[in-house]
């Protein structure tokens, strides 16, 4: 029994090391005085100050935030409405659309990137923030639809009739009953869209133009000449931000669970 327990703990340790060792290494080397990621020579914050004076990187960060926020917002609204429409109404070709939804999900990103680029060229659109945002909206929508649809499938749509019966008109039913009821699906769809947009490289590579460099693209171009510690510093900062967001969301969740248990 005792030996089994040790084996179990060792196994867990290995799994965690496998997951977190690269990240820990990266964080440590972001404070390294040497510009080579091989030996740790001494502690410094130089890379962080260097990072904040790198205007190209900061511009890329701003672009990324704009693209992610706008594309998440638009794709969440379109995707949610589409999911409700696909769920509620029967029309010719509905089955086909439901099947087609999965194509952008399973298709290699590089194919999607090339095809979007050829569409833009055909339409003679200049590559830039506009085309980048449109591309991100395009690949996010199916994810939102699928996520919202999952919740819709487990929702009892008689609540709609109940709302009408209790005196709510179509609009009030939609905003007071349907939307809050499927909110978990909308939120998870939006989260998915946001994370996909945030770290997308391949599609952005094809559809971004001058002046619309995103953070992943910028990092990608920086590491072509070897990984420099300022990239380490940047990713460390990103990890910190993600940790804070995760912590806040779990705190909210814990508080909610506690409240419901009362």
């Amino acid at each position: 029994m005792q030996r089994h327990k040790h084996l179990k703990n060792i196994f867990i340790l290995i799994v965690f090391l496998f997951l977190y060792l690269p990240i820990i290494t990266l964080i440590i080397f972001s404070f390294n005085t040497s510009s080579l990621n091989i030996v740790f020579e001494g502690f410094t914050l130089d890379w962080y100050t260097k990072l904040f004076s790198n205007s190209a990187l900061l511009e890329a960060l701003l672009n990324t935030i704009i693209v992610s926020v706008v594309s998440t917002g638009v794709s969440t609204i379109i995707g949610s409405l589409a999911a409700i429409g696909l769920y509620k109404f029967n029309f010719w070709g509905k089955e086909l659309i439901n099947k087609l939804l999965y194509i952008p999900v399973v298709i290699p990103e590089i194919v999607l990137g090339i095809s979007l680029l050829s569409v833009y060229t055909l339409l003679k659109l200049d590559l830039g923030m506009g085309t980048l945002i449109i591309s991100h909206i395009a690949f996010s929508i199916p994810f939102v639809i699928i996520s919202v649809r999952t919740v819709l499938n487990s929702t009892n749509f008689q609540i709609e009739e109940a709302a009408h019966d209790l005196g709510a008109n179509e609009l009030k039913t939609f905003f007071y009953v349907i939307i809050p009821e499927i909110m978990p699906g909308i939120i998870s769809g939006a989260t998915l869209a946001f994370t996909l947009s945030l770290d997308d490289v391949i599609i952005s590579y094809f559809t971004a133009g001058p002046g619309s460099n995103t953070l992943p693209l910028q990092i990608y171009s920086m590491i072509k000449t070897g990984i420099t510690p300022d990239v380490n510093a940047l990713t460390t900062l990103m990890i910190v931000v993600i940790m804070i967001v995760l912590m806040i969301s779990s705190l909210i969740q814990i508080r909610k669970i506690k409240k419901e248990a009362m």
């Binding site: 009739e161 209790l166 005196g167 709510a168």
Partner: protein, 358 residues
């Protein structure tokens, strides 16, 4: 004299060529507890939905409290529905669920709060105001659904098999609660169910629906004692149905011959000799006959005894006809292969055999 609260005039409903409701006329009185009872697929739920407006009638008129509401949309009708699966808003608390209708009707906050509080007391759910539906038991959810409808003080409350998802014990309790609440508030209840026990125990009147038409509408007692069709006799309670033919007619009396080769004397009700009839005898209307009894007696070969506490149900056979009768446990009865039964010809129900005419 009570006024008519809901009136259906010649209501028809088709779904793509398929006739669901085939001409229903029905008047429901103010404060009445009326049940629409029928097998699944008979159109009872559809009928209920035409009253709430969630379903449009194909033809006919619907009046609520004297007003023609045939073309009025659901939210403008003074009725509320309790749905089979409750249809509670899962993201809202108990209180918010109940409050919803009042909020939609823009009832002032103060009055709304008072009415919600009163109704929560009525359904005995004090202390649960801030819970979400998922944190409630089935019976509690049922109460909340009921309160959410009742708080609007509808003229009519429509209940669509509200107890079907509850277990037996809870259902019995809810039956009592429903009756108590209905009598207290005096709201007209129209209740849909396929469960005859529910229908008989709660209703003032029951409408038996079959195949889109009302077979019979009457008090539970009359439905049981005086069924007007074979379907009603069969659907309400247990019944033995015997084919019979009129043998001879006199001024006041007629003699008919049952399919079990038994001739009985009944009141003449304008019968013709040779006319086909159906005789309905409830299991409990058979009594053990004594040796000396001669009229309305016959011998039964017993097949099975089903003990049921206060009584024993016996399945037997007479001339290839299966019959069912009841022996009370204090009766002097020993399990025999053959038993002599009698019945009183005044108690039995005699119907014309419509099948033969078709």
């Amino acid at each position: 004299m009570k006024k008519v609260m809901v009136s259906l005039k010649n209501v028809f409903k088709d779904y793509d060529e398929k006739k669901i409701i085939k001409g229903i006329n029905l008047d429901i009185m103010e404060g009445e507890f009326l049940t629409l009872l029928g097998p699944s697929g008979c159109g009872k739920t559809t009928l209920l939905r035409t009253i709430s407006g969630l379903e449009k009638v194909s033809s006919g008129k619907i009046y609520i409290d004297g007003e023609d509401v045939t073309d009025v949309i659901p939210r403008k009708r003074a009725v509320n529905t309790i749905f089979q699966n409750f249809a509670l808003f899962s993201h809202m608390t108990v209180e918010k669920n109940i409050e919803f209708g009042l909020k939609m009707k823009k009832v002032p906050k103060e009055e709304s709060r008072k009415r919600v509080k009163e109704i929560i007391e009525l359904i005995q759910m004090e202390g649960f105001e801030d819970r979400k539906p998922s944190q409630l038991s089935g019976g509690q959810q049922q109460r909340v659904a009921l309160a959410r409808g009742l708080v609007n003080m509808p003229k009519v409350l429509l209940l669509d098999e509200p107890l079907s998802s509850l277990d037996m014990k809870l259902r019995k309790q809810m039956e009592i609660d429903l009756q108590r609440i209905q009598k207290k508030l005096g709201i007209t209840f129209i209740y849909v169910t396929h469960d005859q026990d529910e229908a008989l125990s709660m209703s003032d009147r029951v409408a038996i629906i079959n195949n889109g038409v009302i077979e019979q509408i009457d008090t539970p007692k009359n439905l049981y004692n005086y069924p007007k069709t074979k379907f009603v006799a069969d659907f309400i309670g247990e019944s033995n149905q015997f084919k019979a033919v009129v043998v001879s007619c006199e001024k006041d009396e007629a003699i008919i011959k049952l399919e079990i080769d038994l001739e009985i004397k009944i009141k003449n009700n304008n019968y013709d000799v040779g006319e086909n009839l159906v005789v309905i005898i409830r299991p409990e209307q058979f009594k053990l006959a004594k040796e000396r009894d001669v009229t309305n007696c016959f011998y039964v070969k017993t097949k099975e005894h089903i003990y049921n506490g206060a009584f024993t149900k016996v399945l037997g056979k007479v001339a290839k006809k299966e019959i069912e009768f009841i022996i009370y446990n204090d009766d002097e009865y020993t399990k025999n292969e053959e038993v002599k039964l009698k019945f009183n010809s005044d108690d039995i129900v005699i119907l014309e055999d419509n099948d033969e005419q078709k």
